[in-house]
Amino acid sequence: MKKNPMFFSGLRRAAVSLALSALVLSLAYCRRTEEASNAPRSATPQRGGTVAIAWGTDIAGVNELIVPSTNATNDVLFQLFDHLVEEQPDFTEHAPTMAPQLARTWEWSEDRKTLTFHLDEKAVWSDGVPVTAEDVRFSWQAQSSPEVAYSDANSKRFITDVEAVDPHTARFHFSRAYAKQLLDANEGVILPKHTWSALPFGEWRKGGDWFRDHLVTSGPFRLASWKPQQEIVLTRNERYFQAGRPRLDRAVLRIVPEASSQVAQLLAKEVDFATNMQPTDAPRIQADPRLELRAIPFRNFVYAAWNNQREPFNDPDIRRALTLAIDRQKMVDTLWGPYAKVAVSPILSFVWAHDKSIEALPYDPTEARKILAAKGFRDADGDGVVERNGKPFRLDLTTNAGNQQRIDATVMIQAQLKNVGIAAAPGIVEFNALMAKLDEGNYDCVVLGVGMDTSLDLTTFLHSRSIGVDNGNNLARYSNPAVDRLIEEAAGQRDIEATVPLVRRIEKIWQADQPATLLWESKRLMGMNRRLRDAQPSPIYMLWNLRDWWVEPEPAAAP
């Protein structure tokens, strides 16, 4: 027999890779850990110092209104610009509270159609000019200008006017009263009218560099330098109106797109904070006594959305059978270990309004098979796939490229569905291409994640008018008049607490109807150097309380 050179070169390649991996792994395990810091830790916050952060993606610009709205960009911009008020991440026990930021206090009119903010007189722009109600009005004008095309302009649709009553009083007028008014008024940072009004709105979308050259900020930090794709340097805004804040001199955000590189830089002590990590990296962080692993709930869940407008997914019993057939706990254990749990409701389990009595449907393939049989699905030809009226039960199962957990999940779903006689074909599609497919409704099932804010507003996720192109986040294409009514009723409440019973009724209907199979709510993993103190990344923003962070003073250099 002739040797197959391809086969041998492949073997040799594999052997070499294996040998090298083994070498490196053994080296990594015998890492020196003796230099662990035993130095006493300071308890009182120190002023000064620099913190280096590994940041996943560069910001796209300094003007929030014209750049794509991503958490990575917003997180940085919110250090440069303040909002009127700031939503606190305290939504696990009660409705999120609002803390003052540029606005010291705020009050409602009797009919709740007017909301008046009283600005802090001490607040000034980085050039010393006071922050005034004119800035608030200007920001609203820019946010709602079609020429600026702010991606969140929709949040301003019920605001009819913003009035500058006096330099430190801004009054918002609404066309109706509803639960999210304060959140909508607060959406978007306050912009500097005295400099940015020089550029007409029509020029904003070409003005990325102009805004950088005319950057005047109000937040706790200033942008000291920004080298695209390299680093963003934030320095303390000495004019910041909140006394004693920020504590740090500087925060340097190094752009490190690759998660494993972030971990390597954290291990090499080149950064103090790695913001993006995979569960597989966790043991390496835990093994190093100078580092600390942080796992915080992420306001996001991943789910398999069945296309409710297609046969046979339009039948709630079939959808229930699909959920029963998928072993979600095993999926969580395999992909995330202790850093995720099975999702039970579109209202995240750690949000105060969630009905804690709801339990996830069990993994029960026997029951799933029974339901399928009762619905007429039988494997008559013995090929392992059930069929009804001669049509085999096949489905396509698509997710976006670039997210390994989701890709692995589709493969697991395929295996588990096969177990009950359903043939699923997993497909991986580039994100934008997948979005186009979703708009057209051309799919059986997609595995995707969705971010949930704390407003308890399920309009974009579940309302029938959110099917398809316009606001199309109802990927299950679920349409239930009862749910639509509950969502509208909830949105019309003046007080968010009043929406809780309505939302809980939706949760119950969801449980029975299973428009989609919820897979997991994961935690977000981060690694931190222990010298970094009081850092509390929130479920949305890594840099949430950056103004309060401080670092242990550097120990004297070892000889």
């Binding site: 070169s9 040799r12 390649r13 070499v16 890779s17 090298l20 490196v24 990594a28 890492r31 620099t50 280096a52 993606t57 560069d58 796209a60 610009g61 014209i66 750049v67 709205s69 079609p146 020429e147 095309a149 991606s151 969140d152 929709n154 949040s155 070409k206 003005g207 990325g208 560099d209 330098s225 080298k227 695209p228 794709q229 390299q230 680093e231 340097v252 752009i255 490190v256 690759e258 590189s261 390597a264 830089q265 291990l267 090499a268 002590k269 080149e270 580039e430 994100f431 934008n432 291409a433 979005m435 186009a436 497919k437 995707l448 994640g449 969705v450 971010g451 192109v469 316009d470 606001n471």
Partner: protein
């Protein structure tokens, strides 16, 4: 020679136009556009339509193409649809880091490739040759991504000799010039070595083969018979003969160098063109996609042109053929 050059230049411009046109239509034919990027975008259809109108994406594709081509021919690469700033400035900041990485990697590739290749040819079929061949196979086979991560783990984490990524240390801009240069070089060593080594395996095997072929030629045997020293035979006669196919291979490895630098740039957080292009593709930032492609295409074409010229210089037969062609 001049008319040869002119013909080659003309062909290059045509090729560039074809590449750019293909990229233009492929990029626009791919589903998705810059107006609908975010997973939970709260934009309404009307807002998206407005944005598409502002960026001219609602016009017929042919009209967009003609407008873009006209502007590009005048040197205007447009405004990024994601960063809202001139494309030329975005690329301007990324070209130097990429060139620095690519030329250093090329130097490593040449050095290691030639060294391994020559040593192997001289010790043909002896143990050293086998070891070197295995080594070049290893460099050639290992994925750049994996090699990069291992290099970081070994030389930045386990033995903290080099920085784990980035292009300069924090606060490096306040250092004196020489310290800054040293800092930059320290950051360059790992990515350039990894990329250069990965590409050197291929070159080493080529140099070895080509040199062995040269050493078997009549004129080398003649030179030996005339009693020339082995060093002179190798350095002047054989290497020169072996060089011309190697130059061709080298020119062809420029695209590999550029695509390899994309991966290296991502893993080592190197702020180069590869990352700009990658982000642009993800964000469907058409003007940036086209400009980065154009730049890469120009580089490849120019290097091929240089290779042809160098080929003519080292190999008189090519030169003579060209002269004859020109005369005809």
């Amino acid at each position: 020679m001049t008319s040869f050059l002119l013909r080659r230049l003309g062909a290059s411009v045509l090729l560039l136009w074809l590449v750019l046109s293909a990229v233009f239509f492929i990029a626009h034919a791919t589903p998705g556009d810059p107006s609908g990027l975010i997973e939970d975008s709260r934009m309404t259809a009307a807002q998206r339509a407005n944005l598409r109108r502002m960026y001219g994406l609602d016009r017929p594709l042919v009209e967009q193409y003609v407008l873009w081509l006209g502007a590009a021919a005048r040197g205007d690469w447009g405004i990024s649809m994601v960063q809202n700033r001139p494309v030329a400035r975005i690329l301007g900041g990324a070209i130097l880091p990429t060139l620095a990485l690519a030329t250093s990697a090329l130097a490593v590739q040449l050095g290691v490739g030639f060294l391994l290749g020559i040593a192997g040819a001289l010790r043909r079929d002896r143990p050293l040759d086998h070891v070197l061949r295995l080594l070049s196979l290893v460099f050639f086979s290992l994925p750049v991504f994996w090699l990069s991560l291992m290099a970081i783990l070994l030389f930045a984490v386990h033995w903290p000799i080099f920085p784990a990524g980035g292009m300069r240390s924090i606060g490096a801009e306040s250092l004196p010039f020489w310290a800054q240069a040293r800092d930059l070089i320290a950051h360059l060593v790992l990515p350039a070595s990894v990329l250069g080594l990965a590409l050197s395996g291929f070159l080493a095997r080529y140099v070895r083969g080509s040199l062995l072929e040269a050493l078997g030629q009549e004129h080398i045997r003649m030179a030996r018979a005339r009693g020339l020293s082995e060093r002179r035979i190798l350095g002047v006669h054989a290497l020169r003969y072996a060089l011309s196919p190697v130059i061709q291979v080298l020119a062809l490895s420029i695209p590999a160098l550029l695509s390899g630098s994309l991966i290296t740039e991502v893993v080592f957080s190197w702020p180069g063109l590869g990352r700009v292009g990658f982000d642009a593709v993800i964000g469907r930032d058409y003007p940036v996609i086209l400009a980065t492609t154009a730049f890469a295409a120009v580089l490849v074409i120019v290097f091929n042109l240089i290779a042809d010229l160098a080929h003519a210089v080292v190999d008189p037969r090519v030169r003579d053929a060209q002269t004859a062609q020109t005369a005809a």
